[in-house]
């Protein structure tokens, strides 16, 4: 299944690894922060509603 990459296998594979890694970090960080902020906002809104 693995294609023949010849003598450039190292750079090709590492460039895929680096790029996919960076994208994964970016997506992961975005999703994590989205979850955190959403939860925090809900908590605050809940508290304010109860306070009223």
């Amino acid at each position: 299944m693995m294609p023949e990459l010849g003598k450039y296998a190292g750079v090709v594979l590492s460039s895929y690894a680096v790029s996919i890694g960076l994208i994964a970090v970016l997506v992961g960080a975005s999703i994590l922060r989205a979850r955190k902020v959403r939860a925090e906002l809900e908590r605050i809104e809940e508290r304010i509603k109860r306070g009223d």
């Binding site: 990459l5 010849g6 090709v12 460039s15 994208i23 605050i44 304010i48």
Partner: protein, 242 residues
């Protein structure tokens, strides 16, 4: 809801919530499809060998690096003219995505250059202007996070984005001028899509679509996050004031 005077942000979140899953799925499909197609099912170029496969990452990320800045520029203009909060927050949300795209373009460019030019880094005009673009992204993000007041930060960063665009463009041409003649043919096939064979072109097109969709999905998600974070701050401030 209207007490927060953020009618538009609410609408924005409601609309994007509906679109976001579809865009994300499309982005994943295009990215996985395009990259798998490019990586496993295309032949190696007769001249560049298998390094041609790097372009499925390099070209889309480089495109998005520039387009992200353009989007920030437009969003900043909208903020300055219309004072539309979502716009400023969208510009803020796009900046890290653009910076990562620039980083990917730089990294893959360096990895490609190693076997092709025999060096990790050449002061090629194109590479150099991307490095400068990356610096502009860093400065922009640093300014956002340095200022506490949201509106002040939005104003200052959008002006910075405008001025920075002019200087980034200027640097692009200055850099061209600066290194002209040192190694002329260095950027040979970086954007020669016209003479790229269809075997390479179609998967590249799918990858570009994937990167565009990924960018849209990320900007939607991150803008929602910024809106929520801002609202949480506003609520806390209101609570403290009361």
């Amino acid at each position: 809801m209207s007490i927060w005077e953020y009618a538009n942000p609410v609408k924005f979140i409601r609309t994007t919530d509906k679109i976001l899953p579809w865009v994300s799925i499309a982005a994943v499909v295009c990215l996985v499809g395009g990259l798998v197609w490019g990586f496993f099912f295309t032949p190696a170029d007769y001249r560049q060998g298998s390094t041609v496969k790097i372009f499925y990452l390099h070209v889309p990320s480089a495109l998005m690096a520039i387009n992200a800045w353009m989007m920030m520029l437009v969003a900043s203009l909208i903020w300055i003219v219309r004072r539309h909060h979502v716009s400023a927050l969208a510009a803020r949300a796009a900046a890290p995505v653009g910076a990562v795209m620039t980083l990917i373009a730089l990294a893959t460019g360096a990895l490609w250059g190693q076997p092709m030019w025999g060096t990790w880094w050449a002061w090629d005009p194109r590479l150099t202007s991307f490095l400068i673009l990356f610096l502009f992204y860093l400065g922009y993000m640093a300014l956002w996070s340095a200022i506490e007041n949201d509106d002040t930060a939005a104003d200052l960063t959008s002006i910075l984005c405008l001025v920075g665009s002019v200087f980034a463009l200027l640097s692009r041409y200055a850099v061209n001028f600066w290194n002209q003649g040192l190694h002329q043919g260095a950027s040979m096939s970086l954007d020669a899509e016209e003479n790229v064979a269809d075997v390479f072109w179609y998967p590249a097109l799918v990858c570009i679509a994937g990167f565009v969709l990924l960018f849209i999905a990320l900007v939607f998600l991150r803008t929602q996050t910024e809106i929520r974070a801002r609202r949480a701050r506003a609520l806390l401030a209101r609570e403290r004031a009361a």
